[in-house]
């Protein structure tokens, strides 16, 4: 039976999950199979690779459709889901390419399944058209991009953060998007779950922007065992179509700019302008709800390191070394004293970093840019170092917000992650030694 969305009211179309649960409790309805099979949620410790953690988290977050095409360094996600998806009662398809993968998951989400795909640089480029389509049709999908070195085929087995702008501005036209950047295996797990929730809440594609280091690293993490009790988000930012077709109603889906009923308005400048504003503002007006940063030792810091993704890890190590927080590589005190006597204060300070008051601002949601949080966290510093594994892209965004500070880009290309020593030396270079 085909519903005409114009004739039926919203309430008539909605499936009422609450009534169903009430009936189950009253005993007038037999619980559905999937509810009976649910295992209680508990937690356990495992050693997992970043990619495996992402795949496990997707199944836990309720993803029941995966379409993908294997590409290093994201292949392990596809490999693991090819068996796990079936066990969870979902569907797995190895598509002909990444264009097909991205389109398939959009269709799967319209059909009612939470859906995801995973890829790396070259595949992510192919997906751009579909990402724009998902944005304009407000389809909640999750795309994992485990970054490798580019451009083109680039460096299949080495890491980079070169797709940071493509993740935000990759598809043509103006749209808002959410991008999360994990820096550890635990975050890869947690952020995947978060990505699904944010996608549903804001009805937008969400990108999990990992990199080779995080994707291939193994760490001990805590995972959920059992099944998740998936609730519909309380507040949803659906703007159109007005009928919630993810709950069973038929509707028009339209790639051209459309009104609340899905009717084309591309030829009407005023209405089109409103539509574009709406799909952008559902993200930009709610940055406070989405944005997430973590700060370390920022209370009394003179200089800050702003980092995201795997680079945040050596940056944290640099902060700990400067602050003298227990670590086996910190110079023993007697050596510092000996150096002070032998070489004098100035020379010693060039190799000992303990006088540097450094803090770290780790950005978890790279897009939308967490302007207010960053401004607040970096209020009292005068130097900001932005290490990143590209030619220095994200630092422009930092520069825009912290325009009155000394923002120093610290690009590194070639596939190797920054070492803590390099970061410390850069700070020393900027902060200088008092004459």
């Amino acid at each position: 039976m085909v519903y005409n969305v114009n004739l039926l009211t919203r309430t008539q179309l909605q499936i009422q999950p609450n009534n169903y649960l009430k009936k189950v409790r009253q005993g007038t309805e037999v619980p559905r199979r999937e509810d009976m099979d649910k295992k209680p949620d508990s937690r356990s410790e495992v050693v997992l690779q970043g990619n495996e953690a992402c795949a496990r988290a997707a199944v836990y977050a309720g993803c029941r459709f995966f379409a993908g095409y294997p590409i290093t360094p994201s292949t392990e996600i596809i490999e693991l889901l090819s068996s796990e998806m079936q066990k969870a009662g979902g569907a797995f398809i190895q598509m002909e390419d990444e264009i097909g993968s991205a389109c398939a998951i959009i269709g799967a989400r319209w059909g009612g399944s939470r859906a995801m795909t995973a890829t790396s640089g070259p595949g992510y480029t192919l997906m751009q058209e579909a990402i724009g389509f998902a944005a304009v049709t407000e389809t909640p999908i999750v795309i994992v991009n485990v970054q490798r070195g580019g451009p083109s085929t680039g460096q299949p087995t080495l890491s980079s953060q070169q797709d940071i702008y493509q993740a935000r501005y990759g598809s043509h036209g103006d749209y808002g998007i959410i991008v999360l950047s994990p820096s550890s295996v635990q975050e890869m797990y947690d952020f995947t779950i978060k990505a699904f929730d944010l996608a549903e809440q804001f009805r937008t594609p969400v990108i999990l922007l990992a990199d080779e280091v995080v994707g291939h690293m193994r760490e001990k993490i805590t995972v959920h065992t059992g099944d998740r009790n998936i609730k519909r988000p309380k507040q949803r930012f659906a703007v159109s179509p007005s009928v919630d077709f993810f709950n069973g109603a038929n509707s028009l889906v339209e790639g051209q700019l459309h009104d609340d009923m899905g009717r084309r308005i591309g030829h009407l400048p005023n209405k089109s302008g409103e539509f574009i504003e709406k799909i952008n503002r559902k993200i930009s007006d709610n940055v406070g709800m989405i944005a997430d940063i973590t700060t370390y030792c920022m209370e009394d810091a003179d200089a800050a390191i702003v980092a995201y993704g795997s680079v945040a890890r050596p940056a944290l190590n640099a902060v700990k070394r400067a602050r003298g927080i227990k670590d086996d590589r910190i110079l023993p005190k007697f050596r510092v004293v000996r150096d002070l006597v032998k070489r004098g204060v100035k020379e010693t300070m060039k190799t000992d970093y303990s006088h540097l008051k450094v803090g770290l601002i780790k950005i978890n949601t790279v897009w939308p840019f967490p302007e207010d949080l960053l401004r607040q966290a970096a209020e009292n510093v005068h130097t900001v170092i932005v290490p990143e594994m590209n030619v220095g892209k994200y630092c422009r965004e930092v520069e825009r917000v912290l325009w009155d500070k000394n923002v120093v880009p610290m690009p590194k290309c070639g596939g190797n992650i920054h070492t803590p020593k390099e970061i410390l030396e850069k700070i020393l270079e900027e902060e200088g030694v008092d004459e």
Binding site: T157, L158, V213, H216, E219, N317, D328, T419
Partner: protein
């Protein structure tokens, strides 16, 4: 305590697998924090391959190894490339069948020879891992053996466990000859 361990060898020798088993042994068996990373070329076999394990009782921030405390070389190319990046009192274990060097401080295990004697040349990584387990502090053989059993199908877990024991026994004998008990304990003392 933080121990930086680096494995180097050729793709196909099982360099990464050995590091993963060691990391799991430390992480799950002995309840330490671990971070295991690797780097390799696009080739399936034959390219240079490196794997790193960081073991710590604190949360690990920097997950890579700059200067290794423990260095394991499975072939000559890997040894030549990373032999200089070992800390002064670091511990070096070499596959003496394939690596030639005259440093008397290095621990040697003829892993390829032992594996070929067993008729299973693919277990050289596990033979080396057995020898390494004897040398390293804070990890016990049962923890690694449990991970070997979990990691392999039943049909090949047997040969791998044999290989592990052979490596372990060989190194125990060598340590008796060298009159040492737990050579790597200095790594723990240094960082305590």
């Amino acid at each position: 305590m933080r121990i930086n361990i680096r494995f180097a060898g050729a793709g196909g020798q099982g360099v990464i697998l050995a590091s993963v088993l060691l990391a799991k042994g430390y992480g799950l068996g002995e309840n330490y924090n671990i971070a295991q990373t690797q780097s390799y070329g696009p080739e399936a076999r034959g390219g240079a391959c490196k794997a790193e394990v960081v073991v710590s009782d604190e949360e690990i921030d920097y997950m890579k190894v700059d200067t290794a405390d423990v260095f394991i070389a499975l072939n000559q190319v890997g040894y030549d490339k990373y032999a200089d990046e070992v800390s002064k009192d670091g511990l070096v274990l070499i596959n003496s069948t394939l690596v030639e060097t005259d440093n008397p401080d290095h621990y040697r295990i003829p892993a390829t020879e032992i594996a070929e004697e067993m008729g299973k040349p693919f277990v050289i990584n596990i033979v080396t891992l057995g020898a390494l387990t004897r040398l390293l502090p804070k990890v016990h053989a049962p923890a690694i053996e449990a991970e070997i059993q979990k990691n392999f199908a039943a049909s090949i877990a047997g040969p791998n466990l044999d290989a592990f024991e052979k490596g372990y026994a060989y190194m125990s004998q060598l340590l008796i000859e060298r009159k040492e008990t737990q050579p790597a304990m200095r790594l723990v003392k240094k960082s305590a």
